[in-house]
Symmetry: C2
Subunit: 371 residues, 2 copies
């Protein structure tokens, strides 16, 4: 995410905050492939606080971040080194062996970890293994606490609440409009930000769209990114089943050609007796999320339209907003607002975004925060 941080090189003198920032930044590299594991990043610095290596958990089943970083180094480079890890090194043996036990065998001096293991049964145990081995293991206390929670947010939500994480992506004008009432909506934002949208899509297990968006925009809903190849799952909210019936009567849509039928879910109140695609019976969004959870989906990425965004907002189910704004004014008179079916009675009920981050994808602006 942050190019300045990512561009540090081996041997650069970095501060503790920069080391942790770097660990956070590289953690996101694993985002397309770690689910249901957490995103984790690690930075190793030598006794003089010069950068040695970074690593991240790249894929479910692959090396943990600490191991990924340490494997790049010779053992004598690690003498009195410090590790910055976004999450407490794991104490237990699972798909991989215990990171804490592995680090305990190395001449590393200090481990700074961003968050405690959220599992109360093992929380603190990784740090204990390290302390017992004569290392200094400390919980990070600094200005990046919110960023550390953010990088781990999907896992934390999954783990703490046994619920899927819901992100919404909106591309609007400066006055909050995503389309004209006529339905015209394409290309409100520009090329640079659309590229990043494909990266974001890859971070979540499934894309959610409303029936109307499929009919109006006919999107492909695949991940088109030069570095990331990933199949995603598609969830179409179609409560009355009108879209599914249209399709069964022969209507063609791009996403049906691109995605395997097993990766497409139609969400309808009355599932059809026969369907090539997956179906989930719809009662309400909270219940839908529960059903998706049982199917192994841990996070979704809502891509519109207005009714879909508004319904999730009204249900209090949006965990993160990814907002792309084009520097244009469309006018609300003939425009469709992304929050048009969501309303509050008093301003004190407004939804507040936390730890807002801003990035320019010129000419667009990208803002994101958690709710």
């Amino acid at each position: 995410m942050d190019e300045k941080i990512i561009s540090f090189q081996k041997g650069d003198l970095i501060t503790p905050e920069q080391a942790m920032q770097l660990a956070i930044a590289v953690a996101y590299e694993g985002a397309p492939f770690v689910s249901p594991n957490p995103l984790v990043g690690c930075t190793v610095v030598d006794r003089n606080h010069q950068l040695l290596a970074t690593g991240y958990h790249a894929k479910y089943g692959a090396d943990h971040a600490e191991v990924d970083a340490l494997k790049k180094l010779q053992i004598d480079e690690l003498k009195n080194a410090t590790l910055y890890v976004t999450l407490e090194p794991c104490a237990h043996e699972g798909k991989t062996s215990s990171c804490a036990k592995y680090i305990a065998t190395l001449p590393v001096k200090k481990i700074v970890y961003g968050l405690m293991d959220p599992n109360p049964l093992v929380s603190g145990q990784g740090a204990q293994i390290l302390t017992n081995a004569g290392k200094t293991a400390v919980l990070y206390e600094g200005s990046l606490k919110s960023d550390l929670e953010d990088v781990c947010e999907v896992f934390l939500k999954n783990y703490r609440e046994k619920k899927i994480f819901v992100a919404a992506k909106v591309a609007s004008s400066l006055d909050g409009l995503i389309a004209l009432k006529s339905g015209e909506s394409k290309w409100i934002t520009a090329e640079a930000s659309r590229e990043f949208v494909h990266e974001l899509r890859s971070r979540y297990d499934a894309i959610v769209v409303g029936r109307n968006t499929v009919e109006m925009d006919n999107p492909s809903l695949n991940i088109r990114h030069k570095k990331i190849t990933k199949q995603t799952q598609i969830i179409v909210i179609d409560p009355a089943g009108t879209l599914l019936r249209k399709i069964q009567s022969g209507s063609k849509f791009k996403f049906l050609e691109i995605h395997d039928a097993k990766n497409i879910f139609f969400i309808t109140k009355e599932p059809e007796a026969k369907s090539e695609w997956q179906q989930i019976k719809f009662s309400n969004l909270a219940n839908l999320n529960q059903q998706l959870w049982t199917k192994g989906i841990r996070s979704v990425f809502i891509e519109g339209g207005a009714l879909t965004y508004s319904s999730y907002l009204s249900a209090g189910l949006v965990d993160r907003l990814h907002l792309f704004m084009a520097p244009v004014i469309i006018g609300a008179q003939n425009g469709i607002s992304w929050s048009q079916n969501f309303g509050i009675a008093q301003l004190e009920q407004k939804l507040q975004l936390k730890n807002l981050k801003i990035k320019e994808f010129r000419p667009d602006i990208y803002m994101t925060g958690s709710l």
Copy 2:
């Protein structure tokens, strides 16, 4: 505006781009008091490109930027110095003597100016005087061209089109809402950005508000800023005259107590026979602007509400948008959009903002661009 640039100190080695950026940044310091003159800033560097001084046109009738900067220096410091000025040094003697002639007498070597004098009768003459005196005078060609146009925009609009400059300030939620339909609207944005709003108010000759905003919010409409003391003029758009009649029947509003009656203009279709305050007969906004021009007003700052913003947008009369966004979602269902009475038939008619700048006033975001 840009703290990093402003914080350079005498003796710092700076690049040509930084020198011009600094000249632009200091130019804005004069914004409250130079009207109808242009904002101009100047940076002086020595032969090694180390910063010597900056200066700006601080007030109508006061020293021009070049003189303000040069006065801070000894003549021997100026040997082989370079001046960066946002606007071509003036050739003619006016309220002050000619800057070009003054600089010609100094041991300065080079003058880089951001824009040509917009007056075709004298454009290039300042540079000619300098060249004739053996100096190198060059028109700046670099990445800050748009910023140089921006700093001079009120003057350029006034000078080229004989029209007033119109800026609109909007404080909205992320979904483009400025209030609830109930009228509740206070404090959508936070303290830090409200402080900057007072600085912005001071940059323009008058504040424009709609009747409804006065009735709903009862604003003071004065400039409350620790460094800037300035009386501003107030223009109340009240086409049907309902507000003016209410006031004449005894209704109290804060702004009436704070501002002298001679600084308050009521804009009504049928002016009242007797009024303590100024009145302008309203036919349309373009005509209103012409009438304000004849009264010596060169720029206005629109502060709402939705109907006022939308009317100016529909008339194509907004030259700059100052948009403050709070990181909140209000929902369009019960909210009022700032562009609610403005609409386009096709997306290609959308209004495009140029040279967008973003600044954080945490937790709010400020964006500004010209239309």
